[in-house]
């Protein structure tokens, strides 16, 4: 498996060329097992690492997502539909290519080129448009939309629990953020049904902007959704797996837009995902002097940019979920105005921090940031045994969160990983002003023109999703003894 996936996903893999031949639902006869010592049962699991396939076997991302074995075994899986080459070939097609840029990728390139996030955004806009991209948008805009939905969902769960002592399905606390695809994949494949009801049903910013573009914007600008090729730029390889989920594919034709069985063209909210590192590869492959590139004005329709051209958004390199929901809940539920940035206290390590609100001596809100696999493990076990007293958890699979995603540009020679993270955290909000998502005018107009109001039927249909526990295959259990 590619080292580029988050550590959480890598852990669930079994063994490079080994896992598929045991657990994979796709026949991989070309991987030839070679037993080192057949009389030892333990060695049944292990094939010689010198055995390599002579010919790449193709597995689609969907095959991988449907399987309880590995996540995927070879990078060739990715390269099929999620590559720079595929992206470039779409530029020559009859489709309108739209790029949505994540703020973490912006920061990664800004740190690499020693520019500001806004400069990077404008230069990337210029570069993408010069090769035929029609529009470049900003996932901090769709993130604000998801934050509004997450706030709404949290208030509803919190109040429901007070009424029903938490026994209503879909109303469980702690509510766990859902933006990290590594975490979602791990929860579905390894943890299973007990954890899924705790996870927020709100889509990630990537899928929310995909829904906004394919369901709403395309209508607004008069382009059929199947004539739009939508690419996101993300700090994370796992986002490629997220984009390929069946839940995020819909069929055209008539009313049943979300009906997967309907015949008609299958359309993905996000057609392809490029990582920050792959965008850097693109810049290098085109021999572009990025620092010298002229800046182009930003596309305002789905971008957090004000009239003066200044960027705005929530702070927090992993999306600011805990902070935004905490402030909103404190105000809505307890009438407390809390100024940001919140003072998160380190609990066990810098990747596990919490913030609490006390009202009349009682702890009424207890939120935590929980990043990296080890912290995720502990919190999951606490939930399982009913000893988790948090109300909200912002969970990210990567240590240090999304700024440290597996798709980010690697440290330069002589730069430590720690230094790079610090640099990214500094640059992330460098010329971006902090703004309340609930006051975002673009989000407001998305509700006015399309979704009606937070938590509405339409919002549930387009901005929420479902999770599916994966059952371990019996074959994988048998063969491993």
């Amino acid at each position: 498996m590619s080292e580029k996936f988050s550590a959480t996903l890598r852990l669930t893999d079994l063994n490079d060329f080994i896992a598929p031949s045991q657990d994979c639902i796709v026949s991989l006869k070309k991987f030839k097992p070679k037993s080192e010592k057949p009389e030892n049962q333990e060695k049944f699991n292990v094939f010689s690492k010198t055995t390599s396939p002579t010919e790449a076997v193709k597995i689609s991302l969907k095959d991988c997502l449907a399987c309880s074995g590995c996540i995927t075994s070879a990078e060739t899986v990715m390269l099929e539909k999620q590559s720079l080459d595929e992206f470039l070939s779409q530029l020559d097609s009859d489709k309108a290519v739209i790029v949505s840029l994540s703020p973490q990728s912006r920061a990664s390139l800004a740190a690499y080129f020693d520019l500001s996030p806004a400069q990077v955004f404008r230069k990337l806009t210029a570069m993408f448009k010069s090769i035929g991209v029609k529009a470049v948008y900003d996932t901090s805009c769709s993130r604000d939309l998801t934050l509004v939905e997450v706030c709404n969902e949290f208030i509803s769960r919190y109040r429901q629990r007070q009424l029903n002592s938490g026994k209503v399905r879909g109303q469980e606390l702690p509510m766990i953020s859902s933006a990290c695809p590594g975490w979602i994949c791990y929860a579905e494949k390894t943890l299973g049904s007990y954890i899924l009801p705790y996870i927020s049903s709100v889509k990630s910013p990537q899928q929310a902007i995909g829904a906004a573009i394919k369901h709403h914007l395309s209508q607004k600008i008069g382009v059929l959704p199947d004539k739009v090729y939508h690419v996101t730029v993300m700090p994370c390889y796992d986002k490629k797996l997220e984009a390929a989920r069946d839940d995020f594919v819909f069929s055209t034709g008539g009313e049943g837009e979300n009906d997967h069985d309907a015949s008609g063209m299958k359309i993905a909210e996000v057609d392809s995902v490029l990582t920050s590192g792959e965008v850097l590869d693109l810049i290098h492959s085109k021999s572009i002097d990025f620092k010298a590139l002229a800046e182009a004005p930003l596309d305002k329709m789905l971008t957090n940019v004000d009239e003066d051209g200044n960027l705005y958004g929530v702070s927090g390199g992993s999306g600011g979920y805990a902070e935004t929901v905490f402030q909103h809940a404190a105000k809505t539920l307890f009438g407390k105005e809390i100024e940001g940035p919140l003072n998160f206290k380190t609990v066990r390590n810098s990747d596990f921090r919490e913030v609490t609100l006390e009202v009349e001596g009682t702890e009424v809100l207890k939120f935590a940031l929980c990043y990296g696999f080890r912290n995720l493990q502990n919190i999951v076990r606490k939930i399982k045994i009913g000893k988790c007293d948090y109300h909200f958890l912002e969970v990210m699979a990567c240590p240090s969160g999304c700024l440290n995603g597996g798709g980010q540009i690697k440290p330069k020679t002589g730069q430590s990983a720690k230094d790079l993270i610090q640099r990214l955290e500094d640059v992330y909000m460098q010329d971006v002003s902090i703004a309340n998502p609930l006051k975002n005018p673009i989000v407001k107009s998305l509700y006015d023109e399309w979704l009606e109001e937070p938590g509405s039927e339409k919002a549930k249909r387009y901005i929420h999703t479902e999770y599916h526990p994966m059952v371990k295959s019996i074959a994988s259990e048998l063969i491993n003894w």
Partner: protein
């Protein structure tokens, strides 16, 4: 210790029958066999159980407890806490169970869940505050004991590229060593922040093994370790600074001292260093071998330390020997476990005092 040439003998004292499948691993309870407390040994097996064997007044061992109905697959490894009160058992069912002795009974008081699949080995650190586990998912986990038998994961270490066969803490300091199907030996230490990191990796390029490394053992002083491999060799490693002398996180790198080749012709699955300096190996040819350092070698100053075989017990079992463990309190007593389903207690004779 003087080796009386030719007189050395490994006598089978007792065979412990009871396991219904191959026996994978053994652990002597470190606080027993001394001061009137009868010696206690744990064995774990493909039959999904752990058996506790206790020495009776006659000197023979009896099975006093069977730990069953907890693990749903093979129990691959077991380890006593330094206090001897807790037993950790690692299983192919992806869990590690913690058992507490209550009277003569054992109660499962905690389950460490997190490994994706088979857990292959478990080890307690010197103070008993940390547990390490490793397994087929290529990861090494470090767990910290909280109050009330609760355990928190403090690190998930992903340096190995294949199945990790064994983890073992250093006898005095919080340094962990892991060995793997990827042929490497890795040394883990705290990174100065709040996590752990790989402080050293000993691969083939560092005079390391050329095939799966199955096991390791430290000597009594903690300044040497021995590793055994599918490449049919034992390797001795030395740390230039004595880590037991170093303060806190002090740690000297390990370097290759010598390779013991030509003695084994099948995979070596287990190796264990006695407090008297004898190294025992258990291998796929059913034999147990003993090795000792050549202390009176005149070329020692020039060539460095060397070790040679002092005893080979052919047909110690009728199948693979999976584990050999010296009794820490009585270094003339060795226990072995085999695919033949037996645990055997051996007595070493012919050593002068």
């Amino acid at each position: 210790m003087e080796l009386a040439e030719g007189k050395l003998e490994l006598r089978e004292r007792q065979r412990l029958e009871g396991h219904m499948d191959r026996v994978w691993s053994l652990a002597w309870n470190p606080v027993t066999g001394v001061g009137g407390v009868p010696a206690m040994l744990a064995s774990c097996s493909g039959d999904k159980t752990v058996r506790i064997w206790q020495q009776g007044p006659s000197g023979s061992f009896d099975c006093t407890a069977v730990l069953e109905d907890t693990h749903t697959r093979t129990v691959r490894s077991c380890a006593w806490s330094p206090s001897g009160k807790l037993l950790a058992t690692a299983s192919f069912d992806a869990t590690t169970a913690i058992w507490e002795q209550i009277g003569s009974d054992f109660e499962c008081v905690a389950m460490l869940e997190g490994h994706e699949n088979e857990v292959k080995s478990v080890s307690w650190n010197a103070s008993g505050s940390l547990i390490a586990t490793c397994g087929r998912d290529k990861s090494v986990w470090i767990w910290e004991m909280q109050s009330d038998n609760e355990f928190e994961c403090v690190s998930v270490l992903q340096g190995h590229t294949q199945d990790v066969k064994m983890v073992q803490w250093h006898p005095f300091i919080d340094v962990l060593v892991s060995v793997s199907y990827d042929n490497s030996i890795k040394v883990w230490a705290e990174d100065g922040g709040d996590d752990w990191h790989c402080a050293q990796s000993l691969g083939e390029a560092s005079s390391g093994h050329s095939s799966t490394v199955w096991a390791l053992s430290f000597n009594e002083h903690g300044d040497r370790m021995v590793t055994c491999s599918d490449d049919l060799t034992l390797k001795i490693w030395d740390t230039s600074e004595n880590p037991s002398q170093a303060s806190g996180d002090g740690y000297g790198p390990w370097r290759h001292v010598c390779t013991l080749s030509g003695y084994h012709d099948r995979t070596i699955f287990s190796v264990n260093w006695s407090s008297e300096g004898l190294i025992a190996s258990g291998a796929g040819d059913d034999a147990i071998r003993l090795f000792a350092e050549n202390k009176d070698n005149p070329l020692r100053e020039v060539d460095g330390p060397s070790y040679s075989m002092v005893l080979k017990k052919k047909a110690a079992h009728v199948m693979d020997v999976n584990s050999v463990q010296w009794n820490p309190k009585d270094p003339r007593v060795l226990a072995s476990a085999s695919d033949d389903g037996l645990v055997k207690i051996w007595e070493l004779t012919g050593l002068s005092q």
